[in-house]
């Protein structure tokens, strides 16, 4: 494999392989930015990977009072799943348990589209007959009486089929500390890109996985080729100077958004440099046969 070097950081001439997903977006508002954030954080908790969590979710951005339907501080949340049915199930459970319950919250569609997902239309039954339907300005809302007043929720949100999940970067550094610094810079860059999330804790995954296992029934297991402690024992992908590896996984509403986020991440890592950050950037793929979206790192250089 050819190696490119940009400002001392080695970049593998490889590509990230990503998959088509179903996604939706929500706007969550509350009386204060703190409570809007709280509802969004709670709702997107335990949503790092579709393998174990049913969906991947995260905060896209915070919204100022001018950008929300009700003029209150808000947060835009993105949810990704492998099918519309699963997305509907996750949406209903998460909004019902985490947003409806959060003080002063309201929930609106965060994306337009033809295919609808039930939002208020599913949660309205909590009103036990006291729920009120309102149609204003071409939109349909449900008012559900709750103990601090009313929970206002738009009837539906939309689902996009153009979403992409699994855009990724593998960040390799000399020590755990410098690698983490590079990954943090990359994750921070992603938060500034619209329409994307990095669903892992703080945007970073330390336990990258490979498909399959020696154990029967285990679908995914540790990515031994990138484990620095196994460097001599397995067919490794690491160089002699590698001490730690972290992965960034990116989900976006469009393929362009994922590419933009990857470009921003690489730029942030390169800017930090090999001494304080990563020495090498790579990406995960399955040989290009499984996922339709390929992001070649050489096309995304700063």
């Amino acid at each position: 494999m050819r190696i490119l070097t940009v400002k001392g950081v080695r970049i593998d001439d490889t590509f990230a392989e990503a998959f088509g997903m179903r996604a939706t977006a929500l706007t969550i508002t509350a009386d204060t930015a703190r409570w809007a954030r709280q509802a969004a954080v709670t709702m997107t908790g335990f949503a790092t990977s579709v393998i174990g969590c049913g969906c991947e979710a995260g905060i896209d951005c915070e919204l100022t009072v001018k950008r929300t339907p009700d003029g209150r501080p808000g947060v835009r949340v993105l949810l990704f799943a492998t099918s519309s049915t699963e997305l509907q199930k996750q949406l209903q459970a998460r909004v019902g348990q985490c947003v409806l319950t959060s003080p002063s919250s309201a929930c609106y569609a965060g994306i337009k589209g033809e295919e609808a997902l039930k939002l208020g239309n599913a949660l309205r039954y909590f009103g036990d007959g006291w729920q009120v339907s309102k149609r204003f300005g071409g939109k349909h809302y449900w008012r559900i009486p709750v103990m601090d007043g009313e929970f206002v929720c738009e009837a539906t949100t939309a689902v996009t089929k153009a979403a992409v999940g699994g855009g990724n970067l593998i960040i390799i550094g000399r020590t755990s500390e410098t690698t983490r610094a590079a990954a943090e810079a990359a994750a921070a860059a992603i938060t500034r890109v619209p329409d994307v999330i990095a669903p892992f804790p703080g945007g970073i995954a330390r336990s990258g996985s490979k498909v399959g296992s020696k154990y029967k029934g285990v679908l995914a297991s540790t990515n031994d080729a990138y484990c620095p402690t196994l460097r001599g024992a397995v067919k490794t992908s690491l160089d002699a100077d590698a001490g730690a590896v972290l992965e960034i996984v990116i989900d976006g509403l469009t393929s362009e958004a994922v590419a933009t986020a990857m470009r921003a991440s690489i730029a942030a890592i390169v800017k930090l440099g090999p001494k304080r950050g990563a020495t090498r950037i790579s990406a995960g793929n399955y040989g290009g046969k499984l996922g339709p979206h390929h992001y070649h790192l050489r096309d995304l250089l700063p």
């Binding site: 009700d70 003029g71 309102k134 149609r135 204003f136 008012r143 206002v152």
Partner: protein
């Protein structure tokens, strides 16, 4: 392109049904063809050219000048485009309207917006009784769209309303929102007696209270509800008075308990 202008030659001596003069029915016709369109008067038929001076223009934008209260069913069943009426109109203005925009600078007669399904009807003067109400034998009144009345509305505004929004910036007569099935009705100034009489669902907002509240409405206290804020934001471009009213704390009365009881009347705190 200028709007198509219809200037009334003189006040007709009988009532005149203007329902054929809506954008979707006259588009694609020449000036001569439009002048030959027959209109029904109370006892006989006349052609457009007999009663109006026509100046050809964009048929999607019709302007009626010198209008009077004998012109009935203006904008009936219109689906799009715009009709601007300078003056008063008679009964059933915007009847069964499904889209577009109808503006009347003067007053309208009874049953304006009756059976309306969509679009925007603005009445800058006053309107008669039964605004948005069903005609005899019909099950429901207005079922969509937005009606703005800058002046006063007569009795039974929003009778049997099914959906949509009616904003009356002035006063309203007795029984505003009577038998409402659902929808939203705002009265900026004082309403007559017994608003929401036998309403099932829906919301009525009274900016300055009413002459008498039915005893079948129960007090639910003063609230500043988020949905009112949301609604105010949507109504603000159409009616600043209504938007201001909705941003105040409002007393919620639930009713009419004589029937289903899932409706609500909100009363501004100043009353």
């Amino acid at each position: 392109m200028k709007p198509l202008l219809l200037a009334l030659r003189q006040r007709p001596d009988q009532r005149l049904d203007l329902s054929p003069l809506v954008p979707h029915l006259i588009s694609g016709r020449s000036a001569v063809e439009i002048e030959r369109i027959e209109l029904q008067m109370t006892r006989w038929r006349v052609s457009v050219g007999d009663v109006f001076r026509l100046r050809m223009g964009d048929p999607g934008r019709i302007r009626i000048d010198g209008s009077c209260d004998r012109l009935d069913r203006v904008g009936q069943a219109m689906t799009g485009g715009e009709i601007f009426v300078d003056g008063d109109v008679g009964t059933q203005a915007g009847r069964s309207m499904a889209g577009g925009r109808l503006t009347v600078t003067g007053n309208t007669g009874p049953w304006a917006a009756s059976g309306m399904k969509g679009g925007l009807l603005e009445i800058r003067g006053a309107t008669g009784a039964f605004l948005g109400a069903p005609l005899a034998g019909e099950m429901a009144g207005i079922r969509g769209g937005l009606v703005i009345v800058r002046g006063r509305a007569g009795e039974r505004a929003g009778d049997r309303m099914r959906r949509g929004t009616i904003v009356i910036e002035g006063e309203a007569g007795a029984y505003a929102g009577s038998r409402m099935i659902a929808g939203s009705l705002i009265v900026g100034k004082k309403a007559g007696a017994l608003p929401g009489y036998l309403m099932k669902r829906g919301s009525i907002v009274l900016g300055a209270g009413c002459e008498a509240v039915s005893p079948t409405f129960v007090d639910c206290g003063y609230h500043e509800l988020l949905v009112m804020r949301l609604w105010a934001g949507i109504l603000h471009p159409h009616s600043k008075k209504a938007a201001t009213l909705l941003r105040r704390p409002l007393q919620r009365l639930a009713g009419d308990m004589a029937v289903l009881g899932k409706g609500e009347i909100f009363i501004g705190s100043q009353s």
